[in-house]
Point group: C2
Chain length 279, copies 2
């Protein structure tokens, strides 16, 4: 029996619907429109597409988006100044710095310039620690989106063995913290792990965040496991061999239509929360 | 063949010897004595012993210790004010808040009042994130001490399967980050893990930080594994069944004389670093 799909598009749309109602109530009550500033440095075509998509989705739920586009030759200092300006702007509730930035930019410094209260993309060190300690900061959006998707399908995590493949700052590492906070037994695999297959074979929950097409083979998947595929490689291919994995898993995300829509829904949900906390 | 011992006392003494020389050079050159403030709230006998031990060790290497003792009824606000005073005192290089604080204290707020540059005990959220991202902040002292001990014996970590048992804020969670930064494949087990034995059986490196006497059974240990026992329970008993584990492990820490001395050595090493960074 092939796996059931964890439908990210449908779940994200439900979340977006709720956000839309809440924004309408807020605005009808005289509140300001929740506002997300998207900051893009340079003109990478994929980054242009991503930020446009986020702004569009933002406006589709009645929120405001503020487009900040800086030339590729922007210095770290200029970028920090721009972010600080947005940080101090009471009309901006959330700040998203689209990454990757051009290589001459100190990206960590740029992220850290975002005030934690406006870090709706969950990229600062403060948000990272908050995720590990359950302190109520904002989630990194992709791991946060995966958690929301698993919860939407009532999939139990407590006591389950979860394996995260990848240890990036915005995906693998925060993902591990969120799964641990949900009481899973968490293993983090990465490029130096000699036998990823062995770890995956024991996993009740697999999160693939490698960025390599079909890196996770279908026959690695434990029968009945839950598979979240955060990969998005050329040709709409995920990090998991989808068809073969679906033969063994109980639940699996499609690519596209799985993790991707949940990432944006999480971003917008957190922007609304930031606006509400700000009153 | 029984395991060889990871001699924490000997390794810590080597570190302390180096610190002593460096402090002597610093002071001879007209530099200030590196100064560690120990803050103790209340009169818990074990905490009194620990802080006294740390101060004594501090002075034994030529550093200065500053004893701050506050009554058990101290409020969070009063404690924060005290820590901020130390944070602003240019004569204080490192601040150690002995935990646990009395239950009415907001311990997280108190930790966060310590400036990261003086967080030589590695308890702030900033230090936590730094450990996960390799950003050069201070280590939590017990995990940092374990890493120093493993390195002193040239034990390889890259590509090894490491299992951390326990997920406390100052031990299990930072330990996982440090092992990951050393390229181990890291699994975090905890009270909700149904089968800790199964995870330990696959581990090349085991760090026990449970706080339950002999929780880790000897026959769980994979032959040839490295075992670091951070437990220190009544009667000088660790979290690992020592004798039985030593029959299978290649390397194991004794209790006492293993992790404990390394914790204090790490604290003092980091206090010296804080002083040197401060110039």
């Amino acid at each position: 029996m092939p796996a059931e799909l964890l439908d990210g598009t449908k779940t994200a749309n439900e979340i977006l619907g709720k956000i839309r109602s809440q924004v309408a109530v807020r605005v009808a009550g005289g509140g300001s429109k929740p506002t997300l500033a998207t900051v893009l440095v340079g003109a990478d075509p994929a980054s242009i597409t991503y930020t446009r998509m986020k702004r569009k989705r933002c406006e589709s739920v009645g929120m405001r988006s503020l487009k900040v586009e800086l030339p590729a030759e922007t210095t770290t200092e200029q970028l920090l100044a721009e972010i600080e300006k947005l940080g101090n702007d009471p009309g901006v509730h959330g700040i998203l710095l689209q990454h990757p930035c051009p290589p001459h930019i100190d990206e960590r410094a740029a992220f850290e310039a975002i005030p934690t209260a406006k870090d709706v993309d969950g990229v600062t060190l403060g948000s990272f620690a908050d995720m590990w300690f359950g302190l109520g900061g904002f989630d990194s959006c992709t791991p946060g989106g995966i958690m929301r998707l698993l919860r939407a399908y009532d999939l139990p995590l407590s006591g389950k063995r979860a394996v995260v493949i990848g240890r990036s700052a915005i995906l693998g590492k925060p993902m591990a913290g969120l799964l641990l906070a949900a009481d899973a037994t968490v293993t983090i695999c990465h490029s130096r792990t000699p036998d990823v297959a062995a770890a995956v074979r024991e996993a009740d929950v697999v999160v693939a965040a490698v960025g390599r097409a079909e890196f996770v083979k279908g026959d690695w998947i434990k029968p009945g496991a839950v598979v979240a595929d955060a990969g998005y490689n050329a040709g709409n291919v995920g990090d998991v061999e989808h068809a073969a994995a679906a033969e063994r898993a109980a639940w699996i995300t499609p690519v596209p239509g799985g993790v991707g829509p949940m990432t944006i829904a999480t971003l917008l949900e957190q922007t609304l929360v930031a606006a509400e906390r700000d009153a």
